[in-house]
Each structure stands twice: as structure tokens, then as C-alpha cells.
Subunit: 537 residues, 2 copies
Amino acid sequence: MTSTRVHLFDSTLRDGAQTHGVDFSAADKTAIARALDDLGIETIEGGWPGANPTDDRFFAAPPHLTRARLAAFGMTRRPGRSADNDPGLRALLEADAPVAVLVGKSWDFQCRVALGVEPEENIRMIADSIALMAREKAEAMYDAEHFFDGYADNPAYAVACVKAALDAGARWAVLCDTNGGTLPHDVERIVSEVVAAGVPGERLGIHCHNDTDNAVANSLAAVRAGVRQVQGTLNGLGERCGNANLISLIPSLVLKMGMDVGLGPDDLARLTEVSRALDERLNRAPDARAPYVGDSAFAHKGGLHVSAVEKDPRCYEHIDPTAVGNRRQILVSDQAGRSNVLARFREIGLEVDPDDPKVLRVVEEVKLREFKGYAYDGAGASFALLARRLLDHVPDYFRLDGFRVIDERRWNAKGELITLSEATIKAVIRGERHMAVAEGNGPVNALDAALRKVLVPIYPRLADLRLVDYKVRILTPDAATAAITRVMIESADTGGERWTTVGVSSNVIDASYNALHDSITYMLFSAETVATADAAE
Amino acid sequence: MTSTRVHLFDSTLRDGAQTHGVDFSAADKTAIARALDDLGIETIEGGWPGANPTDDRFFAAPPHLTRARLAAFGMTRRPGRSADNDPGLRALLEADAPVAVLVGKSWDFQCRVALGVEPEENIRMIADSIALMAREKAEAMYDAEHFFDGYADNPAYAVACVKAALDAGARWAVLCDTNGGTLPHDVERIVSEVVAAGVPGERLGIHCHNDTDNAVANSLAAVRAGVRQVQGTLNGLGERCGNANLISLIPSLVLKMGMDVGLGPDDLARLTEVSRALDERLNRAPDARAPYVGDSAFAHKGGLHVSAVEKDPRCYEHIDPTAVGNRRQILVSDQAGRSNVLARFREIGLEVDPDDPKVLRVVEEVKLREFKGYAYDGAGASFALLARRLLDHVPDYFRLDGFRVIDERRWNAKGELITLSEATIKAVIRGERHMAVAEGNGPVNALDAALRKVLVPIYPRLADLRLVDYKVRILTPDAATAAITRVMIESADTGGERWTTVGVSSNVIDASYNALHDSITYMLFSAETVATADAAE
């Protein structure tokens, strides 16, 4: 009886960084590593020290992790050189990461053609390099590149590479389907043969790519054949068609195959959030059709499905959506909108009689505005203001008579290129007219600065307001530069409170102003509500 | 020895029409049916006659098909009524389609809970309805709804439903994983057991959904266990997470499992075109990461990969991309080595001595600019201009002395909110100074309009330039409104050529201008290069 413990290894920051169109900054990498750590992933591959400036910056100041360990990636030593003198291995040793992952060939054809190295020397390269890392690091791992193609061509050589790594002290030998062309039944057969050849599954990992749409199935097949480490990426990021998607793999392993991957039920219930946060960071729309976590994954169109699913969810749901943090969606149903909005009211502390006709007005207004491009799901502060405006009252702390933003680019007398942004605003505050002008680093920055000039003397607490994130999404890309734009701004105060607001317009500056206006209003309104609540006690 | 002939059944127009956000017109359906027919799909399920006006319109005047047969979908008769008197079956009989597909329960729990029907009556419903269709139509088929969940719960009953359909004259009984929750090893085991129970695989079909990311693997597993009809949709359309993707399944069945699906090599080489034409019709961007047919499916980024793939494509390609009508792509990126850049030079038709020291200068410049936030990976036109500027020469078609963009928001005399964008540019073209002012729907749109006013009279071909996509990404979100911004613009001409350019700046307007400038320069430069090449012939 083999163990049911399966170890998770995430490569979002290394193989995932190869995704066409994805370009992580060091700050992105740190934030993603923290999210993976919180989720409960055992090992996080942070990148390839020495390969590019971003990875160097990341490993120079790696995030402090509480549950996970950080891995650094590199290659086995160069041919005809000692491991100790190899500059690539040196960079790995110097990287601040307890785990070292070394990729090396396991296909003799590749050794000869791609590398120009004799297969015997390749085995020495693996053994020497792994031995060095096993000695100097907490853990060493061997990525057997092209293992499945290599095994199909020359099984004895492929297995010899794996054994060389394990004999040299590797904790794991990871079988990589580098070109992604192997089908699940071949993965299962080959892994079974490797285990039968005397390599314990407890020391084997699997690393799949999605070139035939089977990366997840291939990983599951390998686990069934005995492998006990699974590699993948969040949302299946990765070059070409992507890597095995951990977000799909984890619930199948846990909920359907009874494996222990080191995540508790509360961790599992965060999968949807983690998946969507990554898309948010990449500034792309989450895939509504994503297995388990997509917005449509548990969506039921009206009619038979809905009534059946309400009689017994097993009729049309393969798992309970809340197990992965997702939710059932009944499409085209006012009832769903209503209960959703009521649930949101409770979240923001608004007590409303569910039968109050104003509730329906909020539902209709939210629907209308979401149709126009607003997104209240991620902008709680704008939702709270909208709801309170319709149900109750929010004061106009300031009323803008207008603004003008000028962006100029020209060459000065010395021939230097100059870019300048200047904003003028005219506002009425407590019955008095104010105006101000300010410069900034870009048009929205200038607008923000001008607003502050006028507002801070009157509302001093706004001196504590910081804008911590600013995102722009084009909602109608077909319209190109005339497209509708959605701006989301995350703000914070010095006490650590954070809130997000949204603005929509065909003009990016105008959309930004709308989100800024909500941000400032929310801060002032919250302070007032708290003050009133305090006074009432 | 079982036959290698596998029959393809497409449900894009029926199950695929359930996709959230997809809304086929009857004309769409006709066009897609023609494309499926051309491709060589055996059976095309056109819809559900009587269920909605679109499907009625489609079956009232179905397209003339040359290779495929049309199928109409419906349900088994209602309980306690004869098949001849069932209005749903009547609509099916009247539909102009030689094949009838009837869905019916195969899980006794579902009969009782969802339908409120005794399991014995359900079997009579299947037998009666299939018998009617087998008599009146060229072919009858039974979709065994919830077959896998039903089999797990009560195997004898699930098999009894399948046998009842086949005994009543169904050509095929299709095993449906309706909730999509079954894993590949369970599909393979259950199908094997059904075949062992005396149901010939030659009369079994498979219909999978992608709720665990295994729809393709589940379909392949069923074929291995003996099933000889495979159902799916183009690009995996379908409700929730979609159906099994025929575009992924077909090449794996043919190229990797040696099956005969009725498509010749020329048909197979049209898969990429068929997949992208569907997205075109749905007005959505094709998935670059789609297995086999995506734009990135054979894209190479890492430097080592590129040099190896040029030595022997087997090193990093699991099939020849042209077999499915796709092509190899060499990307430029942060990770790029010299060989990547050299390969890109060849793609853009630049002949350079690999040992030319300028090559290293391009590599260094690309790395430096990517560190600053440029992304040449997705911006081939900006890369081509950068390379040619460093290696050779690109004319300055226009030189900007400066621009000024004004965004204004104010209330007019009637109390209406007015947002206005106005751009002024000053440019030197062929030694002459020009200036222009234009309004736009947002600042970048205004800038674009002003540039055109000056440039089109001098370079008339720019009248053909269209901006088809505009993307903004904030690279240093921590800096909030003062952040570095990257703008990518996709442009097209009326001849269908497309190119992408990139601009980076702390000012979103400035970044947009940079990308616009590259877009215009690239169009003019390409035209000139082609003209010169033509003249030289």
C-alpha cells in the first residue's frame, strides 16, 4: 500500500514566467510567492538566479515564507568542467533558497544533438552537480528533461539518469514531459515501468505540459502509477500551451482521489480566490470556464437543471462549489441578484428589510452599471457608496465644477525631451469655491495632487490617504483607442485600512477621476460613520 | 483486434450553444455546419427542434452537406404517454435531419429525484422512443445522461438502459459524463466493464465535459477501452467549463493513437483555420495557448530551446506544426539569448552575420528595455524597428516637435456633464513644419486623430491603418497613479496584415504616443521595404 501523501511543487514563478505575454516584475514574484505560501504549497520555485535581472532581484531579497520553502532553478554543470567551478551552479549556491532544482538531459539523442555531449558525460554532469547541491543545500532535486520522449527512445538510458541523480543525493527526480506530447496512458505505463525497475515512487515527481490538452490527466496518471510529487503552475501558466494547472489538479487529488496534499479544507476553499488574484495581477480577465474555479463552473441556466439542482445538487453538480471557494450561479434570475445584494448589504453592515422596494432598486442599478462596465465585486467601497446613496444618503464633501488636465511633450532648448502633466481643478466645498493647479508624474497623478491641494486644508485626515494600486482595463478592445476604460484604485490610510473604488468612462482620465472621487468620499464618510457610532455609544 | 475506425460527432451547435455568452443565430449555425462538413466530421448535431426559434429556423432550411449528416436532438417520450403521441418526438420527426439523438436518464436516482419517474418506466421510455426513431429516421442514437455517475451508483441499471436502447435499434448508445466529474481512470474502468458485460464498443459513444480539466483525456480513455464514437465541440464550447474539445482530440487520435477518424492529412492541416474561424465568428480573440492550434502552441522563448529546435525540431516539438496547419514562432524576451534574436532576424528578413558585434548590441538593448518595462515578446513590429534601427537604418517619416493633450470635464450651461479631449501636435515632415488639432473620445483617440490629420495627406496609405486593440498595463502598481505604464497597440491594414507595437512611460499618454509612433513607422517602413524588394526583382 503506497502512501496517499502527495507533495506539491509550484513553478508559476519559473516555468510560468515563460508564458507568452506574461512579464513578472520582482514585486509580482514576491506577491505571488506569498499567496502560494498562504495557500499551503510545499515548494515554490522562484526563478533562475543569474539568468535575468528580475530573478536576481527576487533572490537578492526573497520573501519570508511561513509554510513553504523556496527553490532556485539551474542547470547541471557544463561538460568538461568541475561542478565547483561552474558559474551557473555558483549562482545557485549563492541564491538565498534552501532547495536547488537542476535540470539535465535524460534522452541520449538530446545529449548528442542539442548539447553535443556524450551520454556518459551527461550522467556524470547530473551526478556531480546533484552531489554538490545535496551537500550545500537543504534539498536537491533533478528535473529529468524530456524524460518521456527519452524513455520511449532509450528506456535504459533515461532510467540511468534518474538513478544517477537519486544515488547522488537528490530528494526527488522529476519526470518531465518537456515537449508535452505524451498521452496519459503512456505516462501511466512508463511511470509504472520505472517504479518496477526499482525507482521508488516516493522519490519521483511529475512535470507536465498541456500541448495535447492532457497536462492535468498526465499528472493524475503519474500519481496513480506511484509518483508522489506533482509540479504545476497557477492557472496553468507556462510556455506554449502552459503547464499542468495546479488549480485543477489540487481538488481532483483531494476530493476525488483521496490524496493528502498538505492543504486543509480552509486552504482548499481559497483556490478560487488565489486563481482570480493571479489574473488580477496579470491584468487579465479570469477564465469564466476554468474547471472548479471559473465563474461559469457551477452556472445553471434556467429551467430543468435549476429545479433539479435545487431538489438535490448531485443532480447537476460534481462537487459542492464552496469546497473550492466557488459558488453556484443561477443565470437569468432576479432572485439570485436579490439575495446576492442582500448578502452584500450584510457584509458592509447595512441593515435593510429584505422586502424594502429600495432593495430591488439597488439590484437594478448594480445590473445596469455592471452592464456599462463597472465591477462592484472587486470594488467594495464603490458598492457601499452606491448602496448608501440609493438607500440613505451620502454627503457631497466636495463638488467639482470641472477639471482640466494638460499633457505636454516637447523638446526643450537643450534638446532634451520633456513630458509634463498639469491639472487644474475647480471645486465647491462647504459652499465656497476653490481652485488649484498641480503638476504630476502623468495625468492622473497631477489630478490627484491638485485635488489634495484643495481638500487637505479642509479635511486634514486626507493627508493620510495613499493610493496603493491603480489598474486600467480596456473593456471594448475592438474599439481600440476609443474604447471604454475601467479604472480601479486601491487606497489605504496610515492605520492600515484598505478600500477599492471603480470608475468607468471612454476617457481614461475621467474614469480615474470617478474612482478617485469615490476613494476620497469613502474615507471621509467612513470616518464620519465611525465618529457617529462612537458618539451614540 | 478492435477496429481503428473512430466516428466523430460534433455538438458545437447543440451543447456548444449552451456556452455562457454565446448566442448563435440561425445563420451562424449554417456557416458552422458548413465548416464542420468541409473538415470531414461525420455527424453534426444541429440543435433541438421545438426548443427555441433559432433551432426551428435552422432545421426549417438546413444547409446542404456533402460529407456529413445532420442530427437533431430531443428527449425520450414523456412518462405515461405513447411515443407516437409525444409532441417533442413529433418535432424531431418533422425536422429535416436523417439522424435523431434522444437523451434519457440512465441513473435511477435521477429518475426518481429529477424526473419523478419509476426506473422501469424510464427504460420503457428509452425503448419506445428509440424504436420509433429507428423506424422513421436513417439513424437513431441514445444519449445516456449521467451514465458514469449512474454506473457508480447502480451499474446494473445503467447498463440496462444502454442495452434497452441498442436492443430497440439505436446505432449508438453514447455514455455521457453529464456533470463532468469523472476522472480518466474511472472512465476507462467503467467502459471496460460495460464492454465486458456484452455491449460492443463498436456501438458505444463517449460525451465528456471539462469540469475537472479532463474532458479530452476522458474521451481518449474511453476510446482505449473500446468506444468508437467520440463527441465534442469546436474549441471546447459548452456550458459550465465546456465539452471535450474536438480540435484537441482529433490530432491526438490520428497522429498519436493511429486512429482513422475519416479525415485525411489535408483535412487535419485545416484544424488551425477552422478553430480560429469559429472565434472570428464569435467575435473573440483566439486562445493563443490552445493545444495544437494556438498561436503560442509552437512558440519558443528560452535561448537554449531555440538553438536546439533549429538543430532538430524533435528536440522541442511534439509534432510538426504544419500537420495541423499551425507554425513555429520564435519569441524575443528577457530570457532571450543570441540564437533567439538571430532566429527573429531571419523571420523579419534581416540577413546578419551571426558574429557581427551588433547582434550582441541588439540582445543587450532588448534586455535593458525589457527591464524598463518594454515587452517585445508580444510586440513583433516594435522589435523589428528596434533591430533595424540598431543594425541598419529606419527613416524618420515624421519628427514630432511636441504634442499637447487637454482633457476637460465640466458642467455646461444646461447642467450637463461634458468631457472633452483635444490634442494638438506639431511635427516636421520632409523638412516642413505641420500642426494640427483634433478632438477625440478620450486623450489617446484625440492624439491619434491629430496625427492622422497631418500624416494622411502626405502618406495616403495611412488612411488604411486601423487600431484594432489597445492594452494598458501598470508595471509598478505600488507607485499607484505615478506608476510606470506599458501600452500595447495592435494595428491592421485593409489587406488583413496585423502588427503590434509597445510604448512605455510614467505618463499613459506618452506611452500611447510611443506605441502609435512605432505603429505608423512600421506600416510606412514595411511598404517601402516591399516596394524596394519588388523593384529589385
